[in-house]
Symmetry: D2
Subunit: 313 residues, 4 copies
C-alpha cells in the first residue's frame, strides 16, 4: 500500500483522483486547497489531514519525510490550476515523492524541461494523466494507423458547453489555463500526435474567447480541428438528449466511436502508473509543444481546409 | 417564473438550492462565490452569470433593479458561511429581493433582530430553510405531542462524521459557524422546540472540539441530547453499512423513524416559500436563542440526566 | 466632529485620508481591508475597529446606523481598487453616509450614472478627490484661460516610474484600474478639461503596457499628451536628482510650474468637502467620459501632432 | 554584490529589510506577497520582479538556480507571518540560498530542529534577526553581567500599543503569531537569556488577550516581566510625549537606558550576517524554547514576585 497526498481537493477533478487512489487500494494522508469546501474527501478518506495553505501542507510532508513512520508520502496527486502544475510537481519531488499530475503538465515547454532536470536531481518520477490513450477504441485506431503509409483525412470536433463562470475562473485566463487549445484541447492533440505522428505544419483559422479551429499536417494525417465551449455550437441531437458535450473524430470520413468507457480512466491511469507503465515527461511533451505553437500562431485568413463547423460560426 | 440569484455556488449545499430553483420552475440569473470551482451551475443554469467578488455581484443585481427588463432578481438564495448569512440577507433586501437563507439565519440573536427592522424598511421577506419541519414523520410527532399534558422523556442523538478538514474550515471556528450546537444541532433544537414547546432549563454536560451533550427541560419534554462529528462515535451497525451519519430520536423510549424522505426537502422548502408558507424570522428565532444560550453556558459537572452516549465518550 | 469609516486601510493612499480626517478634527470609527497589514491606522486612530471582510464592516456600520449612539458614520472614505469604487460608494449611501472616494469614481461612465440615482434614493452625497484643482498654480492657469478666445497649444507629460509589481497588481489589469490613462492620467485629463473646456476631438497615437500618448482638441486648446510609467522615459535631470516622477505642462510654449504644494491636498480636499464645496458626480463626469473614450479608441498611425516625447519611444 | 529575494514585501517590516539590502550594497531580484500593495519596493529596487503567489516566486528562483546568469539568489529575506517562517526558510534552502529570517524563526521548537537537518542537507545557512543584541547599551550590560557571581533582581516592561486591528490580523491568532510572548516578547526573552544565562524556573502570573506577565529564574537573575499591547498601560509621561511604546529594563533597581540606536539595527544585522557573524539556529533556540514553555504554562495564582505593573491591571 502506497501513501498519497493530493493538491487541489476542492476542485472539480479531485473526486476522480480520490477514487483512483481508493480503487487501487492505496491511502491518502493529506490534501490541500485554498478553498475549504472539501467534504468530498470524507467519502474516501475521513482521516486525511487537510490544509488551506500550501506551506503548511509542505511542512507536514517534510515532517513525514524525516520521520520513520509509515505515513511518508510516496506519491503526490496534483489537481491544481494548470499554471501551478509544475510548481506542485517540484513540491512533490522535493519531499521525495513521485508526482501524478493532471493535464497539461505545464503550459510552457521550457517549464517542462526544467522538470526533467529535477527528476534527475531528486530521483523521483513525474507522471501525467493522458487518459484517452487508455481508451480501447482509441488504442485500436492507434494500432491501425501507426504503420499506415498514406495520409489520412481527419476531422476532429470537441464541443463542451461551459457557462459564463468559465471566463471568470482561472480557466478563462490564458496565462493560467493556457487557453482553450490547452485546457480543452490538449487530450485531443495528444491522441492525434500519438496516432498520426509528428506535426509538420499548423495553421490556426479562428479564435475567439469560446472557440478555436485550425489545420494540422501530421506525418500520417491532415487534420481539421474545431474546439468550442459555446453551448450554441452543440448539435441539436446532442441538446435534445440533454447532453452538454459532443466529441467527433472522423478518419477518412468514418466516424470513430469513442464516447463510452470514460468512467474509470483515472483509476486505470493510476493502475498503469503504479505498475510502472505510466506516461511521463517525454510522453507529455509533443502535445504541449504543439499547443504552445498553436497559441503563438497568428490566425490565418486562408479559406482552405476549414473545419466544417467553422463555416457555421 | 421568478428570478433567483445565489450566494455560495461553490459550496456543499448549493446544488440542493440550484435543484430546488429548477424543480420549482424558476430561473437563476447569477451566482457568486470566492472560489471559482462552480462548474456544477452549468448542470442547472448554463447561462447564469458568475462573480468571485460580492461587490461585483451586488453591482450586477443593482443594475437589474434599475433596469426595466425581466431579469430583476426576485429572490436571493444564501448558502454562504454562517457568519455571513445576515450580511447577505441585507444584500438581498437592499436590492429589493426576498432572501432564502440556509440555517442558521444568524449566529447571534441580536443580528436576527436587526433583520426584522430591515424587513420593515425594505418591504421584503426573509425566509430560512427548516427542512426537518417538512418531514412527514416529524410532522406526525409534532401533531401528536402538541397538545399532550404530560412531560415526555426524550433522547436525541445526531452523529455525523467529519474528517480533519472540518476543523481547518470555517465550520471549525466557533465565531464563523456557531460551533457544533449551531452548525450541526440547530435543526434538531428547532424541531424539539417545535414539537415540545419552549425551553425552561438548559444544562450542558460535555463539550470538546467534536462533541456536545446536555439536557433541556421543555414545556412538554425532558430531553437528553448528544451531538458529535467524531467518526468513532458512530454505532457499529452504522459503520458496517458504510453510513457516515446516525440520527436517533426516542420519545418515551420509542424510536421515531425519520431517516427517509430527506432527498427533496430543499425543493419542498422552496415550494412552501413560493406559495406563501415559508418559515421566516419568527420561526427561526427560538432555536437560535436556545443554541446561543447553550453556547454561553458553563459545562456542569452534574451527573444526572446524562445522555447515554455520553457515558462512553 | 464627524465620524468616518475607511475602506482600503492597507493601501498606498490610505495614510493621506487618515491624515486628512485627523487634520480636519474628525474621528475614525472603523476601517476594512482584505490585507491585515494596517498598523499605520494606530498612528492616527488607535481605537478604530478593523475588519478584513467587507460584509463584517458593513454589518458594523449598519448597527451604528440603528443605534442611537454618537458613533454613527457620517462619511465613508474609499481607497479601494478602482473597479470597486462604485460598489463601495453604494455601501456608503446604504448606511446613510456620504462617500468620499478616490479617483476615478468609476471606470465606466454608466456606473457613474447609476450613482446619481442612488444619491437621490438615499439622500446622501458622493464626493471625489480631484486634488489638482486645489493647487494654487493650476487655479491661476484655470482663471487665466477660462475666458480666452483663442486656442492654446498645450503639451502635457506625466512620467511616473512603476516597477514590475505594477503589472502584477490590480493596477496593471485594465478591467480593474481602467489602464494607464485612467489610473495615472485621470487627474491630468480633469484639469485640462477644467482649464480649456470640453473635448471635440481625440486621437490616440500610441499605447503599450507602460505608455499612452495622443492628441485632444478642447474648446480652448490643442493638447498633445504623453503618459508613462517606464523609468527609462524619465528625463536625465530627474534621474540625477533621484526623482521618480516628472510632470510638465506647457501652455503656448511656457512651462507651468506645479511641482510644489502637493503635500496636503487630501487634507485640503476634505476641508472643502466638509465646508460644502466638495467635487461631486458632475465634476467627476467629464474626465471619466473622456478617458473612457480614449480607452475605446483605435490607435491612429497618423504622424501629425505627435507628442515630442513620443518620438523617442 | 549578492543577490537577494524577499518574502513579505507588503508587510510592515519589509522596508527595513529593503533598506538593509540597499545599505549593504546588494541587489534585490524579486519579492512576493499575497497583497499587491508593494509600491514601497520601487523606492529601493524599481527593477525587482514581483509575485503574489509563492509558487510563482519559487519557480522564478528555481529558474535562476539552473541558469548561468548572475541573478541567482544568494540570500532570501523572510518577513512573512511567523507561522510561515520555517516553510519559507525551507524554500530558501531548496533554491540553495541562505535564509535571513525575521523573529521568531519558528513558533514551535520542533520546527526549529527540522531546520537544522535541512541546513545540513542543502549546505546553506539560516540566520535570524536578533537586533537587540547589537545595541551598544545592551552589549555593555551583557559584558558586565556575563561573569557576575551573584543573582541580579531584574524588572522588564515592554508596552507597545496596538489597536483593535491587531486581534483581527494574524498577529492576534496564537497559532499564527505565537501570541504576545512570542510576537512582542521574543526579543526581550532573548536578551535576558543572553545577559543572565539559562532559565531554571518560569512562572506565568497573568495573561489576557492584551497582556502577559510572569517571573523567571535565570542563572544570574530573578526577572519579573510584563508585556502589554494595551494603550492604557502606557505611562502617562509616555502618552504626553505622543509615544506609543515604553521599554524599561531595571537591573538591581537601576534603569538601563536603551531607547536610542534602534534605527539601523536591521542594516547592522545584515552587515554582521554578510561578514560571517550572523545569528543562526543555535542562537535563536533558547528564547524560542523559553517562550514555548511560557505559552504552555498554567497561570499561577501565586502572589509572590508579581511585576509592579501587574498590580495596576
Amino acid at each position: 500500500m502506497k501513501n498519497f497526498a493530493l493538491i487541489g481537493s476542492a476542485g472539480y477533478i479531485a473526486p476522480r483522483h480520490l477514487k483512483a487512489i481508493k480503487d487501487t487500494g492505496n491511502h491518502l494522508v493529506a490534501s490541500v486547497d485554498p478553498s475549504d469546501s472539501v467534504g468530498v474527501v470524507d467519502k474516501f478518506y475521513p482521516e486525511a489531514k487537510f490544509f488551506t495553505e500550501i506551506e503548511r501542507f509542505d511542512r507536514f510532508l517534510e515532517k513525514l519525510r524525516y520521520s520513520d513512520n509509515d505515513q511518508k508520502a510516496d506519491y503526490i496527486s496534483i489537481c491544481s490550476p494548470n499554471y501551478l502544475h509544475d510548481a506542485h510537481v517540484r513540491l512533490a519531488l522535493r519531499v521525495r515523492a513521485h508526482a501524478i499530475c493532471e493535464k497539461p503538465l505545464t503550459i510552457s515547454p521550457w517549464n517542462l524541461e526544467a522538470l526533467e532536470a529535477l527528476e534527475q536531481e531528486y530521483g523521483k518520477r513525474v507522471y501525467t494523466i493522458l487518459q484517452l490513450r487508455l481508451l480501447e477504441s482509441l488504442k485500436k485506431i492507434h494500432l491501425e494507423n501507426f504503420h499506415r503509409k498514406d495520409v489520412a483525412e481527419v476531422d476532429l470536433s470537441y464541443i463542451t458547453r461551459r457557462g459564463p463562470w468559465y471566463h471568470t475562473s482561472w480557466k478563462g485566463q490564458e496565462t493560467k489555463s493556457g487557453g482553450i487549445a490547452m485546457n480543452i484541447g490538449i487530450h485531443f492533440f495528444d491522441i492525434l500526435l500519438w496516432i498520426f505522428g509528428p506535426c509538420t505544419e499548423s495553421q490556426v483559422h479562428y479564435r475567439d474567447s469560446e472557440r478555436m479551429a485550425g489545420m494540422l499536417r501530421l506525418e500520417r494525417a491532415n487534420v481539421r480541428w474545431f474546439l468550442s465551449i459555446a453551448g450554441k455550437d452543440l448539435p441539436e441531437t446532442c441538446v435534445n438528449q440533454g447532453k452538454s458535450a459532443f466529441r467527433s473524430l472522423k478518419v477518412d470520413g468514418e466516424e470513430i466511436e469513442f464516447s463510452t468507457g470514460f468512467e474509470d480512466l483515472h483509476t486505470l491511469s493510476y493502475r498503469e502508473i503504479l505498475e510502472g507503465r505510466g506516461f511521463g515527461l517525454s510522453e507529455a511533451k509533443p502535445a504541449i509543444d504543439l499547443v504552445h505553437r498553436i497559441n503563438r500562431s497568428e490566425t490565418t485568413s486562408g479559406k482552405q481546409n476549414l473545419h466544417p463547423n467553422l463555416v457555421q460560426v
